[in-house]
Amino acid sequence: MRERGQREVFCGLTGIIWLHRKVQDAFFLVVGSRTCAHLLQSAAGVMVFAEPRFGTAIIEERDLAGMADCNEELDRVVDRLLTRRPDIKLLFLVGSCPSEVIKLDLSRAAARLSVKHAGVTKILNYSGSGIETTFTEGEDACLAALVPDLADDTSDLMSLMIVGALPDVVEDQFLRLFAELGITTVHSLPARRAGAMPPVGPNTRFLLAQPFLGETARALEDRGAVRLDALFPFGAEGTTNWLHAAATAFGIDEMHFRRVIAPGRERAKRAIAHSAERLAGKRITFLPDSQLEVPLARFLATELGMQPVEVGTPYLHRRHLAQELALLPAGTIISEGQDVDRQLDRVRAARPDLTVCGLGLANPLESEGLTTKWAIELVFSPIHGFDQAGDLAELFARPLRRRDVLKV
């Protein structure tokens, strides 16, 4: 089902909050209004006080008057920024709704400034505007902007690329597993430093770690890389399937594969079991937020026995999610897009045991007696892979446990 109407979602600028933690010598300069700055400030919470690597060049009245002025102004801001922070090796000019609407050409500005600061700082651009991107799509746009700039992979050997920003701890776990499996060349996109971005070419095989990377996948395919189709690495089964897709592509012996992943897989299953009793049979609705909804619903349904009622997603990439969708129980409503008031009517009518939603809706639904799990935490917490599977299940079990323990 497809809906259009009022959407209660974040815009792509929010991606900056986790992306800037991942790429440690990158700076994200939003070109936007006070509203954009306010959003980042609200979303980043206490982080704004830690001399972060993002900021907003605020468009003011006089900038709206004429174009030439705007570009000069931007150059001045960038010069000052780079003088103040010489450690910055990669600068993203991030487009916002106001900059899109006034048609400020940030790609030209990025090219112009790249020449000016050549050799020291690379300057790229992407759009994180609300009119073009929803929440995690900001990461997609950012990574897709990186792809044309990646070096050509000239090696004859097949290499593996993990695509999507993962917490370092999770990334390291995966790298260890691939090494044990015998896949020798493994890269991550994004890398932790601007100078260490992976090369790409026809010998590149890539695994998407996140379901919201449609544009990035396309850009990589344009460079000749081949996507390995798999479930997303959530839970014991999802992670096994994801690793297996790589193992198959790299001709890893099946017995060896089983042996390498067995300990992690067993640990994941044991950890998930702690939450199984509380979650089994419970009905869950996802409101659209990050595109993680479909894989997470699959994990909760197949490994924890939950019953998805409605799984909302801001955007449904049917090809990347084909395997996931096939595993969802028959009768699950999949909704793409949103008309928030109508969707809330459906939630109220279905009264699921747990509703996964944004912070703008969570407290109001709680006060109506519906138990909720706020969705953003799923983007900020380490949830991928075997050793986070238990934590992931716990994220969903905790609100239900709390509901049961409170006597007030």
Binding site: Q6, R7, T14, L64, P364
Partner: protein
């Protein structure tokens, strides 16, 4: 949004791109509201740009009316919608909605949040107030006042309204309408029946109060009752306007006695830096100097609209006014002034934390912890009690930390023993030395300590001509006056042209500066 959310029966349709709904969570999370803010966003996307957005706006408005059946609607444009040429005001007017529609012009590339709230409230009042009604004759009824200014996301507005209402009730004054917080459009219609207005928060209500003065001839109470003395002034002003006896309400807060008690002597002359919205900053400065005995060393605000008031107030304290919305400028000022206490917003709290200066929050913007569950007004006599506790608390703890530093060589205060109340940089409570275990009856709370950096004036100064004898003597002086003694001695020495500071110089200087 702060106005619409504060009120009942008002719905706001905001022409805005997808993503702007983030603002909802300020209300649902920071203020912990159990209801969605009454705001419908058109959430247009790139594919809608062109003619489509106007239609989207009209559909959203029509559906919002049908679903929420508000008594009045607000329509406006966000920063992005301002750039695309749809005209929410014009469109809403042609739609013929069966309720009053107030169109807002909020120039978002020029103005900011407080201005937007004031303008919205003013427009609502102007549209909805029934201009034909006037107060009934005073015989046989109590005087009536409107309480204007409290909003959603206001710093302690909820409790201030309760406190001031209680105060007015004691005086025999009836609250006609409190708005916008908790008011309906119908309530705004009967603003004219009040005898006078109380402008509780000028940032929000000033424009509306001026209009009411002009239209209904209602007088305005302008004293903001933050602090003990200001509350008494407020009562006097209300009593004069209402023609009631002020003494009924002149009970006292605990503040005067708490402040006079000897325990508070050490507060005298503490150097305090104050920053926030102009109203709270000005009120805080008065309390700080006149009621707690602090020395105000800096005063500023972030809302330019009230810059003049801050300048006037700064003159009273002989300080340079600081009017800026750049927190780096505030940080610079704090660093330069080296105050012993900072009163400010959430931002100043972080700055003070970084600079290791005690701090209390007196103004928005604030985080979730400053929308407390407990009753904690800033206004009225109970508000004065709250101010005393809130401001003095970080200082008492500050003194405690100094004592801990001073006695850090005593085993009870082992360096490695862990966190203090300030939390940052604390180590876990572990025994560093093989110290005798505390005896079981020694159940005093475990005093713990962070490695507090010595106050700057206490740092050993290498490049002076202190003799070792004088230096040793200096160490015998209690730490909290040691820095002053060192400074005075050095100043005295340089004034007298003495190169080597001996024991005698030290005592000569002491005698010189003795009063």
């Amino acid at each position: 949004m702060r106005i619409a959310t504060a009120m009942e029966g008002v719905h706001y349709v905001l022409h805005a791109p997808q993503g702007d709904t983030y603002a909802d969570l300020l209300f649902t999370m920071i203020e912990r509201r159990g209801k969605r803010p009454p705001v419908t966003y058109t959430t247009f996307q790139a594919r809608d740009l062109g003619k489509d957005t106007a239609e989207l706006f009209q559909t959203a408005t029509r559906e919002a009316y049908a679903r929420f059946k508000p008594q009045a609607m607000l329509v406006g444009a966000s920063c992005t919608a301002e750039l695309i040429q749809d005209d929410p005001a014009g469109m809403a007017q042609t739609m013929g909605l069966p309720c009053p529609v107030v169109a807002l012009e909020l120039p978002s590339y020029q103005r900011k949040e407080n201005w937007g709230a004031a303008e919205t409230f003013y427009q609502l009042v102007r549209t909805l107030a029934d201009k034909d009604i006037r107060p009934t004759p005073r015989e046989g009824r109590r005087p009536r006042a409107n309480l204007l200014g409290p909003t959603a996301l206001g710093f302690r507005h909820r409790d201030d309204v309760i406190e001031i209402t209680r105060l007015l009730t004691t005086l025999g004054v009836e609250v006609n309408v409190a708005a916008p917080l908790g008011a309906t459009p119908a309530d705004l219609a009967r603003l004219g029946t009040a005898d006078f207005n109380i402008c509780l928060y000028p940032e929000i209500a000033d424009t509306a109060c001026r209009w009411l003065e002009k239209t209904f001839g209602q007088k305005t109470v302008r004293t903001v009752p933050i602090g003990h003395a200001a509350t008494r002034d407020f009562i006097a002003e209300v009593a004069a306007l209402a023609g009631v006896d002020a003494s009924a309400a002149l009970d006292t807060s605990n503040l005067p006695w708490w402040s006079r008690s000897v325990d508070s002597t050490y507060l005298t002359g503490k150097r305090v830096f104050i920053f926030g919205d102009a109203t709270h900053a000005i009120a805080a400065a008065r309390v700080a100097r006149d009621e707690l005995g602090f020395e105000v060393v800096g005063l500023g605000c972030y809302n330019r609209e009230f810059a003049r008031d801050i300048r006037d107030a700064a003159k009273l304290y002989g300080v340079e006014p600081l009017i800026t919305d750049d927190y780096l400028a505030v940080e610079e000022a704090i660093q330069a002034l080296q105050p012993e206490l900072v009163l400010g917003t959430q931002m100043e709290r972080h700055i003070a934390k970084r600079l290791r200066i005690p701090c209390a929050v007196i103004s928005a913007p604030v985080h979730v912890q400053d929308f407390p569950a407990r009753y904690s007004p800033q206004m009225g006599f109970e508000g004065a009690n709250v101010l005393f506790d809130t401001w003095v608390h970080p200082l008492v703890m500050g003194l405690e930390e100094h004592l801990l530093t001073m006695f850090r060589d005593d085993f009870e205060f082992s360096d490695a023993s862990g966190a203090s109340h300030l939390g940052h940089g604390s180590a876990p409570a572990v025994q560093r030395h093989a110290q005798p275990e505390p005896t079981p009856h020694n159940d005093a709370p475990l005093k713990v300590e962070v490695a507090v950096s010595e106050p700057i004036h206490d740092l050993p100064v290498a490049a002076t001509g202190w003799s070792s004898e004088a230096e040793k003597e200096l160490l015998k002086i209690p730490f909290f006056v040691r820095g002053k003694a060192r400074r005075n001695t050095e100043r005295y020495a340089s004034e007298q042209g003495i190169a080597a500071i001996t024991l005698d110089t030290l005592y000569d200087a002491k005698a010189h500066y003795a009063r």
